[in-house]
């Protein structure tokens, strides 16, 4: 089965080609069906591969080489896929969640003219993401990496008639490009120092202790991490993700919650062998991740756009994953990627359902009391909120607790700060929940009449994701609750955690108790605060939070404006005077010379003969008396 791995990205590619080439002529329903079926087929193959990888007889990894991609001198990069535990797990997440989102989209996007085009983009996105996780070397990963960047640009700016949306798309693209540059430099460093881009060869060199100074490892790891901050929305490149909510909501679920942003996590987990050699960079990763988790959580507390809250919550959760990576617990990070994919996709799709019911309204100040009208959405959304807040029994509890436990084992400071972030997570999620579904309706009469439960194509994915959000955590139970951790065992052939540590059982119970206690406390606080919602003008710190710490303004002031000013200056001086002057000057000189030379063209045949004779004389003189 694993030899057929090329089928997994092939189906979405075919779907993309069909939908992309014929989107003008194809009926909407058919486009949706083609797009969904393509992902479903990939999902089926992925399940087969997963089962094979899971079996004890599987020899990890299987490399499937399709063709030689680059063959130039000593550089040899095959177009190869690597099947192992890590990539198989990601395949499942991407195609599984992706399929549910496709099904959801068939209903959500049904009124949009460009629906077939939308599905083409979605398929292309899934294809790129699969390429990213399947590649057996960094170059293939980079192709997918760029591909998802491109697709996020296309999908964020899908409603391109709105100027703000296209600006958001541009912002996402540029921010991603900054990170991509880091990745690219890291890749070139690997190539220069080790002469290969393949994972197996590269990690083999690392294990063999190649004659490369430690600082080189640090640089490579740092460059890769910069790439990851771009794609996975970490400080300082996180601002694109909240803006990326401009795209259709299922896109937010697919790209900006479940899959694309996890690319950075995947890359670092994949390169775990490298990061284990560079503890300093791991510290950086942990600090950046924790800072992102806290900053994003604080911002989420004061946002009023339902999708913005979820977006900042995504950034915050990604910060948690980076924290896990930073303390060397790669499997825990992957675990959280998986559970987060479930409940964040669920939350986004739930918010999509709400927006659908509200007729496009996204401001939670105009919602409230929606629970009465859309019961399925409410319950599934509640499950999502509980999961993300880390209430015991749901998937988020296990993964978040595992991260916090690993952080505590690494350093208690990280743990305390992490608890703060987790506390805020519970608060803003339930603030969102209560404002949306509880209380009384605050929108217009018209919207009130329009309220309705979403069609089955939208609610069924919600239910499936809700179930997954509940049960998804049981594959990675902590040591105190279960004899063995299924996920860790599954991933152990591929990912080796750095600095394995074991906590006392009592300590672990205590940590769990604390985090559950603060979560519950914050839910109660959120309930009390938001029972009588008060939307007065924010002041002081709240205003700063509402304005996202003024980070966008800060970037605007210290980066965008100076660059623009510099560009204007270059335009005025270098471009207009220098280059234009040069080009126009050449033109003018030629024209001036032509004006003078034109006088020679008398049209008199006799004169031409005369000149010809003179020319012969000169040539003869040159060839006989000068050249010799």
């Amino acid at each position: 089965m694993s030899q057929l791995v090329y089928l997994v990205p092939l189906f979405p590619l075919i779907g993309f080609l069909i939908n992309g080439l014929f989107w003008k002529r194809m009926p909407k329903t058919m486009g949706g069906v083609i797009g969904s079926v393509a992902i479903l087929a990939s999902f089926a193959v992925s399940v087969g591969i997963f089962l094979e990888v899971k079996s004890p007889s599987f020899q990890s990894p299987v490399i499937v080489t399709l063709f030689d991609f680059i063959q130039s001198g000593k550089l040899h990069v095959p177009f190869a896929f690597q099947v192992d535990a890590l990539s198989a797990l990601f395949l499942l997440i991407i195609t599984g969640v992706g399929f549910l989102i496709h099904v959801y989209s068939t209903s959500y996007m049904h009124h949009d003219e460009g629906m077939v085009k939308y599905f083409a983009y979605l398929n292309l996105f899934v294809f790129s993401m699969l390429l990213l996780v399947l590649g057996a070397n960094y170059l293939i990963m980079f192709i997918g990496w760029e591909g998802v960047g491109l697709c996020s640009y296309l999908l964020i700016g899908f409603w391109f008639k709105n100027r703000d949306y296209t600006n958001a798309a541009k912002k996402a693209f540029v921010m991603n490009r900054i990170g991509d540059l880091g990745f690219l430099i890291g890749m070139l460093l690997v190539l220069v120092n080790f002469g290969t881009l393949g994972y197996q060869e590269f990690f083999g060199h690392l294990k063999g202790g190649a004659a490369v100074p430690t600082s080189t490892y640090n640089w490579i790891a740092l460059c890769f991490f910069i790439g990851a901050t771009g794609k996975s929305a970490q400080i300082p490149l996180y601002t694109w993700l909240p803006d990326a909510m401009a795209g259709p909501t299922p896109v937010s679920a697919l790209i900006h919650a479940a899959t694309m942003v996890t690319a950075g996590i995947y890359m670092i987990a994949r390169s775990g062998a490298l990061y284990s050699l560079t503890p300093e960079i791991l510290h950086v990763v942990a600090i950046v991740g924790l800072a992102t988790a806290i900053v994003a959580a604080t911002i989420a507390i004061k946002q009023y756009d339902i999708k913005k809250v979820l977006a900042y919550s995504t950034v915050s959760q990604l910060g948690f994953m980076f924290l896990a990576l930073g303390v060397g617990a790669y499997t825990t990070a992957v675990f959280h990627v998986m559970t987060h994919a479930f409940f964040k996709a669920l939350l986004f799709l739930g918010s999509g359902s709400v927006i659908h019911a509200m007729g496009g309204e996204q401001d939670i100040r105009r919602m409230g009391g929606l629970g009465k009208h859309m019961r399925v959405t409410q319950i599934t959304f509640l499950i999502g909120c509980l999961a993300i807040s880390g209430i015991p029994g749901l998937s988020g509890f296990f993964s978040k607790d595992a991260i916090l436990a690993d952080a505590f084992a690494h350093s208690p400071i990280l743990y305390y700060l992490g608890i703060v972030a987790a506390m805020m997570t519970a608060f803003y999620m339930f603030r969102l929940y209560f404002l949306t579904f509880n209380g009384s309706f605050r929108g217009t009469e018209e919207q009130h009449h329009h309220l309705h439960e979403s069609p089955a194509a939208m609610t069924i994915p919600l239910v499936v994701l809700a179930i997954l959000s509940i049960v998804g955590g049981y594959i990675g139970m902590p040591a105190v609750m279960s004899e063995h951790n299924a996920l860790n065992e599954y991933l152990s052939p591929v990912v080796t955690n750095f600095g394995e540590h074991h906590l006392e059982h009592t300590t672990e119970w205590m940590l769990m108790g604390i985090s559950v206690a603060v979560s519950v406390l914050m839910i109660i606080v959120a309930y009390t605060v938001n029972r009588k919602p008060n939307f007065a003008e924010n002041t002081g710190l709240a205003k700063v939070l509402e304005n996202k710490w003024y980070v966008d303004e800060l970037y605007d002031a210290i980066i965008v404006r100076p660059i623009e000013a510099f560009s204007r200056m270059m335009d005025k001086f270098a471009e207009r005077r220098g280059i234009d002057g040069l080009v126009n000057g050449v033109g003018k000189t030629v024209r001036w010379g032509g004006d003078r030379l034109r006088l020679l063209q008398s049209g008199q045949v006799g004169f031409y003969i005369f000149i010809m004779v003179l020319g012969i004389v000169v040539l003869f003189s040159l060839s006989f008396f000068w050249v010799r």
Binding site: Q601, S602, G603, Q604, G606, V613
Partner: protein
């Protein structure tokens, strides 16, 4: 002084230069045309002289083909001159300044 190859060289150069001078001096298209024939003959003379010098028959055949081409050229050229005379009633090449426009 016995005749040697340089004599023929000088003679044909002289004839050639006379042809050039005629081309430059005269305005009558027919005279100019005749001067061109003169130049061709100067070259022919030189070729025959070299053929004689090296005992090579190929040069004489070249002369033969030059004559062939010259005959064809004269036929076409004179036809053009006649045509031009019909148009402008003159064979003065100074009238032929259309190349400017």
């Amino acid at each position: 002084m016995p005749v040697n190859s340089t004599h023929y060289l000088f003679l044909s150069l002289l004839l050639f230069s006379i042809g050039i001078m005629g081309t430059l001096m005269r305005r009558n298209a027919i005279i100019i045309f005749m001067c061109i024939e003169l130049m061709l003959n100067a070259v022919n003379l030189l070729l025959v002289a070299f053929s004689r010098l090296y005992g090579d028959i190929n040069a004489q055949l070249f002369v033969f083909f030059i004559m062939v081409v010259a005959a064809a050229e004269v036929a076409v050229g004179l036809a053009i001159i006649v045509m031009m005379y019909r148009k402008v009633h003159s064979v003065d090449i100074n009238i032929l300044n259309r190349l400017k426009h």
